[in-house]
Symmetry: C2
């Protein structure tokens, strides 16, 4: 008989069968119940411990499930070949609590978290939680919360000139998911055209899929229609990423016409077009699309907060049923909790007010950054005043090696990013310089510090 004395007690809060499991596990893993030993019959152990036989049977079932013991038909239950169990050493030496890294000065493409209306947002979440509690967890539709889709359609009409219905809106976990879903669905093993320089994750995604990638060189005002139009063309027409140019209306029309003739598609990545600091936002390319060849992709990461992880696609009407079919079992990756609150925030007008306020603040910062950069000596390089977006692309003409400059800048606390990794075709050298997270009065010093690093590199 096994000695489990003192290990099983009817007075413990732990169920008896769990105590028996724990006791036998310990005996087995410390080796005092050797490999191949036969466990006592459930009847015998029950008698010995003074417990019901079913209690022991439950304990044995658990040990068999865990692989500490095995049943041999007609012969009984035997101990398996378990090595002595050393517990993980993790608790003994927990990793140091690393401070999250600071974002870095002049980080491009990132909104200022201080500008986010955190308290109004929390009030809005709280109101929805009280008035409409089920909306915070109930995902009625894989395309996203119906009210949020309605608000996005209205917003796209108001700010981007796009006439669409809520049915065309697909809520995603960000622009990137929307872009990848659209590419995956539309390329169909054919070719894709991507701007260079351009968005690296998209380039990597296309390469990993094994598609033929055609590079569209982004010039001062964007890319030109190539002789050979690809099945899918991905453009950033309102504000070329990362150079900043705006694709003129005639070129937009030419792309749309060429897509139609090719039986192809345009994916419009409209990541930060709300932030134009002179005049109004340029209307979206999808607003010029009479034949439904353009899939529009927008995001809340730039205008609102990256932390909410929400973006969207607006599909041409004819594509809606086909995308629906994609989501019969799974759904897009957008978490539900923030969706109805965001719809309420938009419906109340607070979202538009927030964008106007952010645009005003970023316009000041853009102006301060552009003024400071204009003072850099010509031999270092040049930039174009696109008066829009969340970064300035500074083209280096002197000593290149933008990646080395950015590494040195990172050591000095800067978040500026190199241009060349975004340009697999030509490796143009440059710096992407943000300004949205800096106070206007700090920008001259921050940019002067960066200039010293560039000059010394």
């Amino acid at each position: 008989m096994i000695d489990l004395s003192g290990m099983v007690s009817a007075n413990s809060a732990e169920p008896l069968y769990q105590q028996i499991v724990a006791a036998l596990r310990r005996r087995i893993s410390e080796g005092s119940l050797g490999i191949g030993a036969r466990l006592p019959s459930s009847r015998a152990l029950a008698q010995d411990l003074g417990v019901a036989r079913t209690t022991v049977v439950t304990a044995y079932d658990q040990l068999v499930a865990e692989g500490f013991a095995e049943t041999r038909r007609g012969a009984g239950i035997f101990v398996c070949d378990v090595a002595p169990i050393r517990p993980p050493q993790a608790p003994a030496r927990p990793p140091p609590a690393l401070a999250p890294p600071a974002p870095g000065m002049l980080l491009p493409g990132a909104p200022d978290p201080e500008v986010f209306p955190a308290r109004s947002w929390a009030r809005c979440v709280s109101r929805v939680a009280r008035m409409d509690p089920l909306s915070l967890s109930h995902q009625a539709d894989a395309f996203g919360d119906p009210e949020l889709r309605r608000e996005i359609a209205a917003y796209a009409a108001r700010w981007r000139g796009i006439g669409c219905s809520a049915e065309q809106v697909l809520v995603t976990s960000g622009a990137r998911e929307a872009l990848e879903l659209a590419m995956d669905f539309l390329v169909e093993g054919e070719d894709i055209a991507l701007e260079v320089p351009g968005f690296t994750p998209t380039q990597r995604f296309a390469a990993a899929r094994g598609w033929t990638v055609r590079w569209l060189q982004a010039k001062e005002r964007g890319a030109e229609v190539p002789r050979q139009m690809a099945k899918v063309t991905l453009l950033t027409p309102s504000h070329q990423f990362p150079l900043g140019g705006t694709l003129p209306v005639p070129q937009r029309q030419a792309f749309l016409q060429a897509a139609k003739e090719r039986d192809g598609w345009i994916i419009e990545d409209d990541f930060d077009s709300e932030f134009r600091y002179a005049g109004q936002p340029v209307p979206a390319m999808a607003a010029l699309d009479p034949d439904g060849r353009c899939i529009y992709v927008g995001t809340f990461s730039k205008t609102f907060s990256h932390a909410l992880r929400l973006g969207y696609a607006i599909l041409p009407p004819a594509l809606v049923p086909q995308f629906r079919a994609l989501f019969i079992h799974p759904s897009a990756g957008a978490a539900i909790t923030a969706q109805r609150p965001l719809a309420a925030f938009m419906a109340s007008g607070q979202y538009d007010r927030h964008i106007r306020r952010a645009r005003r603040l970023y316009a000041e910062r853009y102006a301060a950054a552009a003024e400071a950069l204009a003072a850099w000596p010509k031999r270092l390089g040049f930039f174009r005043r696109h008066t829009a977006g969340m970064q300035i692309a500074f083209h280096l003409t002197g000593a290149p090696a933008d990646t080395r400059i950015c590494r040195r800048a990172a050591e000095a606390g800067y978040g500026v990013r190199p241009l060349s990794p975004l340009d697999p075709a030509r490796h143009s050298q440059g710096l992407l310089i943000g300004f949205c997270q800096s106070r206007p009065d700090a920008l001259p010093d921050e940019i002067a510090g960066l200039r010293r690093i560039v000059e010394e590199s």
Copy 2:
């Protein structure tokens, strides 16, 4: 002079420059201002309209930005080659409002949304919004909300036997993101071993990366250590997906030891181990890992709600700084809004209570489903009573073609899934039959209806 009469009015709410832009856009796109036409000087148009000259300059800048006109240095501003603009037809024929498809009877692997404690969850969100408003939008750490990470570490100790600190926890947008991050980081261009049958998205991910994939055949109790150990081995030890077996402790130890000798890694996908209906959950493999070779991946999609899109990885201490370095600029894809509320829900004990309640309900449904399936004639096939998880794998032995059966079942309103697409190595035929979303008293009829479809196929 261009005739803009009646199109620009000081009494309109719209800013004057926007009215001028709109009027000129219309004249250009309808063709009454032809290609190459020179626009009047800003001074002349301003005089003509009786507005300030800067108003016209702003309007012209906007038209140039949009590409309706272009500046020729020293010559003036000229109309570009814009085709007549036909607005998108979308609003005229919006796509029909498609009802989201019903989930289908006997859908495998999906929790019952009715079991989700939606009202307590909403109260919890509301309380956090009032007490700690900034936590709903402020992402202090790319690894996730610090309080949620602490709660996950405590939960992993309580339910899965894993000793770890909050520093080791990385919050992700779901198990899949955690698995993909871990694979991407650890494979390093070498090989990966995956179970068959297994989780299709992981198989596709590895194939798209171009890695050498070694298949581990999942037997009744899981996979055996192969002669050639891969750099990374992905296992579902507590409850093999989709067959349901539990990897015995000796095999777990053998895998961990082999990974150590190979200088490789085990990724433990522990997707639904909380749902064991006999005895306790089997402790995690990571709980047996003294040398830090095992990355544990968990999810809230099965236990709580897929709609929150939250999962996590628990990293061995030595990997924490390396994963930290991955997230200096971007962060993992988990949305912030639900994180602190989930931490509060866990800290209050409500989460554990919810799991116990769900386990009780699913245990009844499992028993009803297993009883109904046990009545199927032997010639159709067989299943093993693993008494765990959120689906039963029914192995078809008669006339195979599980995909055809599932298509026919889908037409009859079933959500059952075929086994063969999950098994690229052997194409074993079977049905994955869910039970969590059905009421126990409905299960006999639902399973009888499925039996008729299988018999007729």
